[in-house]
Amino acid sequence: MLFDGTLPDVQLNHAQRELTVKIVYYGPGLSGKTTNLQMIHQRTQPDVRGRLLTVETHDDRTLFFDLLPVFFSTAAGFKVKVKLFTVPGQVIHNATRRIVLQGADAVAFIADSRRSASAENNSYWKNLNENMRENGLDPAQVPIVIQFNKRDLPDTRSDAEIEEARKKGKEPVVGAIAIRGIGVLETLFAVLQSAFRSLDARAGLTKNIQLTEKEFLTQVFQNIDTSGTELERLFPPRVKPL
């Protein structure tokens, strides 16, 4: 986290009054991490987001990372940047995964819901925990949200099985079909909410920069087209100019 004066970081220029929230989309290769970012990018107003930076190999595999920045200013005049990263999924890129994971404020773990993918999911889950520790992040302190993606495919886990998986841990669990945009914003909401709560507990955002959870989430989601998602009622999509 980069926050006005609490950490000795060049970016924490007091005059800049700036907060950076880093979210990392983690998970096995081809589980749908890049797709999640593409969907968010598509639905976000161009004036509050940067371009989607992706670095891919010739066969569409993420080589280093994807990055989508979303930014806004709070009512109290604080600049907030939300940086969404994905990690490369292939096993050989573990060093890169660890670098991208550095300083994450929350993690969205994108799992492939197919039963046949359980072993891979487990091994990347373990890898996430190892890399967090290597980076000096306490896995118990950094919130994680699990997305069960690709629920449209045959062999996907049933609702009951996902319910089972949810009970195995404390992480919020969201079902998704990322290519159709289903569950993508819900996952983003859950991960931003957990990130905010954890930052607030550690750095007192409400007290120190007068940024409440409600404002934080509203500032982001009022600029995202929530139509057709579960967030529609919370953040009604703006009427698009003709």
């Binding site: 280093f64 060093a95 799992a111």
Partner: protein, 492 residues
Amino acid sequence: MRQGESVLQRRISLGELLDGESFTDVVKGFVELYKVGIKVFDDKGAKLADIKVGNGDFCGYVFSFPEGRRRCTATVSRVKDGPLGLSHGARLPVIDSDDQARAKGMVTVPCFTGLRYILLPILWEGDTLGRVVFGPFQPEDLKDFPPPSLKEISEGFDTANATRFVEKVRRAPETTIARVLLHFARLMQTMIFAGQKMFLTTQLHIEATLEQNRDLEERNKKLEEMNQKLKDLDRLKSAFLATVSHELRTPLTSIIGYSEMLAEGLAGPLNGEQVDYVRTIMDKGETLLKLISSILDISQIEAGKVRLSFEPMDPFELVNSSVSSLKPQAQKKGVTLETKLPPRPFQSTGDRDRLRQVVTNLLTNAVKFTPKGGTVRVLLSELTHQPDLNTQGFRVIVEDSGVGIPADQFDKIFQSFYQVDSSSTREYGGAGIGLAIVKSFVEGHGGVVRVASEVGRGSRFTLILPALPSTQAQVNITPPVTAIQAPADDRF
């Protein structure tokens, strides 16, 4: 742990985002095309590009007057370091209505000479990374040249000269210049995006490589430590086994000795049943003693404490004495024991006792794993050149018609404590040490041991031994491999 913070964690300056050389080229091309100078500064005021066109003579002339120089310097510092807001002489530019939305942050700064600049902040992901200074240009609405603010700088100011110079400065309506600047701004966005991608990927590539190296080094260190620990443990284990074996052997020898005395009636006559019991004690005691001896052997070997003592020996005698020691067992079991020796006796060098143990172990196995009615055959070759050893030597072959060994077990059976059937319900006794001792002693002689077998048909063990072992040959053995399984920790 990790050193250094990733480039992903810090703010990147405009200079890092723009590839210096190609950026300058693009700016140059742009300036040549539109005939208006461009300067680009980052948010700290560092100059990233400065391409001039047309205004050199005019500004040089103005600059030659002290007051001109003073006013000029003030204007330059206004456009370079002054606020990007509407203060300090800046005003909103005159622009076409359809450009308005995109012209966010653009301001016009007039020069005292009547020329003009337009400034544009470089916005990127919500940050102001720097500014573009466009100009000076000669606004079309400039009517009375020179304006008083220019003329007054000196009594010696020559209007005709100045007019001639100012003609070389691009003249255009402010709206046109503003539109060109917007065009440039779009170009900048593209260049920054491409530059950012390139910068981040190169940096990350370097970071990932360093991280990978660090990781490898750490792993190597851990492996080394683990290896050392395993070695220490192994030594401890061997020392422990040696001590225990010794402590068991001493009392066991007494048990056997006293039983023998009892059986022979040295303590008074025994009846038939009593003799039977005492003989059973003796037999089981002997079996136990053998087992303890082989455990002691293997632990001595593994502890590296075994020194072979080479002396002249007779291979005929080696085979014959081993066979005769197995004869009672074979007879009892109903297994035929055959020996085939070469026509002429020959001499060799080796550790007689250890080699006898080797052949005996092979024979014990052969008899043990061959059912009643089967055959065990021992063959001794002549002394000839052995291609496998590349020296003179001989072979001892122990063949049986027994249960055989699956091919995928050929390597493993030579590891200590390994048995093809290691279940508690297995048919054959033993601890799985015999072949480990064989391998170690044979290799200690600089020889090799081979196995060939077919399940259900029988097995053949071949020893190839040199006639004259080199004294350098070291006793070494492959320790048994233990598979370690990580505990499951599944979330999915």
